[in-house]
């Protein structure tokens, strides 16, 4: 995608904030750079613009003051770069938990200072008690801290504190070769490794004005859909498992494993890590790969309808998922929530369709949308998306072009920028990067869909019972690593 990035005046910056606050545009990202902040905005459905505000004295007018989805992004910029968002409603650090040796590791660095204990937001009233959970959770999941305030069984307030798996990816990207940077991008969130590599490759190709060959483009989409299938099967089962319905978990676990085995047979890696690379794909599909994908499709088509019926007809399961953890449609719209979180609450954005990146504009598929916004709706969106992915894979197999799988990548000779969105299973991943003249990465920022979903989980759990939190959390399945970077 060519990048219309404009440096704006304070007045234009404030106008953009007003447009976001009025709902005329959606915030796609907000991140720091050497001496400025960039804000990516989605206008209407498919026009993306990036606005740059020069932080001449280390400050910029707060977006979060009028548009809450920006609050955590601004706090992260504060912790990483040291830029101050003037008028921000919340100036507490984010991602920096007080364990680093430096402050502002990406901006003007300073030795770490002793900081006051983190102040959680208050909740007051008779009979309230707090339940701290994490960072180490009871299960095989990523670390993060949840602070519940409950009245008996009912959650009055949930506040998340994230950043435990912050690995400093933005900083590691600086000066990295394209090869090294692609590896980092592919390890931002392991469950979405294909989507991240896809977005990173597209952003690089935009910066270098390279177009990958058609075969590579179709193979990328095949991998992206296999990844989506595997994750959706895993999620559907895990959500049911959190409602103690283990039969579904066992059955979808088999389907997930079959997806990963097919991926391994095709591309030599179960999660398909490092296969999508700038310029194309690192290796072609194995000779017997197509047959293993066709076998996978027919197995899923045989088994999955019965599992859908099982989900639909089990009253005890529905009792847990229906009307639990509701995300209001206005929040989904305001936060620009992607993936099943947005689509279960009436926001139909899908980067594959709305931005129409190759090869999706040549393929036909539907983007399922529901309005109820509960755990049940998020399960149904996944079910419908599995069906769409099956149809997409069939089209991809039928049309897979022959030919080269790589376009040559040369040092550009001049600096360039690129931006891309790719639709991961949990929502759109945004990658923005600037390459230097030699073709190394000068700056790269990766924005996971979870940034705009985590805050909605806080809202969705309010008024639900503590025991339903695992169910709600699993129905979101937000990324920790993708968020923490």
């Amino acid at each position: 995608m060519t990048l219309p990035r404009t440096t704006v005046t304070e007045e234009q910056w404030l106008q953009a904030i007003d447009r976001l606050a009025e709902g005329g545009a959606t915030l796609l990202g907000l991140w720091g750079d050497d001496d400025c902040v960039h804000m990516a905005v989605l206008d209407q459905r498919s026009d993306i613009v990036v606005l740059t505000y020069m932080c001449k004295v280390g400050t910029y007018p707060s977006v979060g003051a009028k548009h809450p989805p920006a609050i955590r992004l601004e706090r992260a910029i504060g912790s990483l770069f040291g830029f101050e968002a003037v008028g921000a409603p919340d100036a507490r650090p984010w991602l920096d938990l007080g364990f680093w040796d430096v402050r502002h590791p990406l901006g003007r660095q300073a030795p770490a200072q002793k900081v006051a204990p983190y102040a959680f937001l208050p909740a007051e009233g008779e009979g309230l008690h707090q339940i701290p959970v994490g960072p180490v959770h009871a299960g095989i999941i990523e670390p993060g801290h949840f602070r519940f305030t409950a009245n008996g069984e009912h959650v009055v307030r949930l506040e998340q504190r994230l950043g435990y798996v912050h690995k400093g990816i933005d900083r590691l990207m600086q000066g990295a070769s394209l090869e090294q940077a692609a590896k980092l991008a592919g390890r931002t969130s392991g469950d979405s490794t294909v989507a991240y590599s896809y977005a990173f490759a597209q952003a690089t190709e935009a910066a270098l004005q390279v177009t990958p060959p058609p075969r590579a483009i179709y193979l990328r989409a095949l991998m992206a859909e296999l990844e989506r299938l595997a994750n959706h099967f895993g999620d559907i089962g895990a959500i049911c498992n959190d409602a103690s319905f283990t039969l579904m978990h066992a059955q979808t676990g088999i389907l997930r494993e079959r997806c990963l085995r097919a991926a391994d047979a095709c591309f030599g890696h179960r999660l398909m890590m490092d296969v999508v690379v700038p310029g194309g794909v690192a290796r072609d599909i194995a000779p017997d790969g197509l047959a293993s994908v066709r076998a996978l499709l027919s197995e899923i088509r045989k088994v999955f309808p019965r599992l859908i019926e099982l989900y639909d007809n089990t009253a005890s399961l529905q009792d847990r998922t229906v009307a639990t953890g509701i995300v209001k449609p206005e929040y989904a719209r305001q936060f620009g929530a992607g993936g099943y979180v947005g689509r279960a609450s009436g926001r139909g954005f899908d980067a594959r369709r709305d931005l129409g990146y190759a090869p999706y504009k040549e393929l036909s598929f539907d983007v399922p949308v529901l309005e109820t916004g509960d755990v049940n709706a998020r399960v149904w969106i996944r079910i419908r998306e599995v069906e769409q992915s099956l149809a997409l894979i069939e089209q991809i197999l039928d049309r897979l072009p022959s030919g080269e799988i790589n376009a040559p990548i040369r040092a550009p000779g001049s600096a360039g920028e690129g931006l891309a969105l790719a639709e991961a299973f949990r929502g759109d991943v945004l990658v923005w990067l600037r390459l230097d003249r030699k073709g190394s990465v000068a700056r790269c920022h990766l924005r996971d869909a979870s940034w705009f979903q985590w805050p909605l989980l806080e809202a969705a759990i309010e008024g639900n019972i503590v025991a339903d939190f695992p169910l709600c959390n699993k129905s979101f399945n937000c990324s920790y690593s993708g968020h923490d970077l």
């Binding site: 590791p105 095989i140 670390p143 950043g163 690995k167 400093g168 390890r187 469950d191 089990t314 920790y480």
Partner: protein, 174 residues
């Protein structure tokens, strides 16, 4: 539901033959395990998984150990929710500075005798995340490690090989 259950009963299991333990892993374990510990543990181990900074790729494959194909529990291995119930800590990721203390506390909360298995390439040497201001290092830089299972991520079969090696070592000189 009845049909799904019936088919599961009649079609025979999907579960695959257990892998033979990896010789190199047995050698690593032979050095690190003391006899007294082996004698106490026997053929059943409780595992507590700790993500100390991973990208979540390793977690996905550790999860897969419980599916019908690998069926971890047939070996007497099971995942537990608390470090207080655990014999083995399965640690993933380069240890981030933000998780260092949580990992140490989890380690200290695990009763002796205990083993630490570092899972994944990041856990072994911090991989692409080494040299970051936010990364404390490999798992062995923070807690003593008895066994490394490498891979990015290691496949469930590789994980099983390592864990079976752990059980074998526990039994052999018991």
């Amino acid at each position: 539901m009845r049909r799904t259950l019936l088919e599961s009963l009649t079609q025979g299991p999907l579960t695959e033959e257990p892998p033979t333990p990896d010789e190199a892993m047995l050698a690593e374990l032979a050095q690190s395990l003391d006899r007294a510990a082996r004698a106490k543990l026997g053929r059943s181990l409780s595992i507590r998984e700790v993500d100390a900074g991973s990208c979540n790729g390793c977690e996905l494959e550790i999860h897969a150990l419980s599916n019908a194909f690998y069926d971890l529990e047939r070996f007497g291995l099971r995942f537990v929710a608390s470090p207080r119930h655990a014999d083995v800590l399965l640690v993933t990721g380069p240890v981030t500075k933000n998780m260092r203390e949580a990992l140490l506390r989890t380690y200290n909360a695990t009763p002796n005798p205990k083993w630490v298995v570092a899972v994944g390439t990041c856990a072994a040497d911090a991989s692409v995340f080494a040299d970051s201001y936010a990364v404390a290092g490999a798992v062995k830089d923070v807690v003593p490690v008895d066994l490394h299972i490498r891979g990015c991520p290691p496949s469930p079969t590789e994980l099983l090989k390592g864990l079976v090696a752990l059980l074998e070592s526990a039994n052999r000189s018991a």
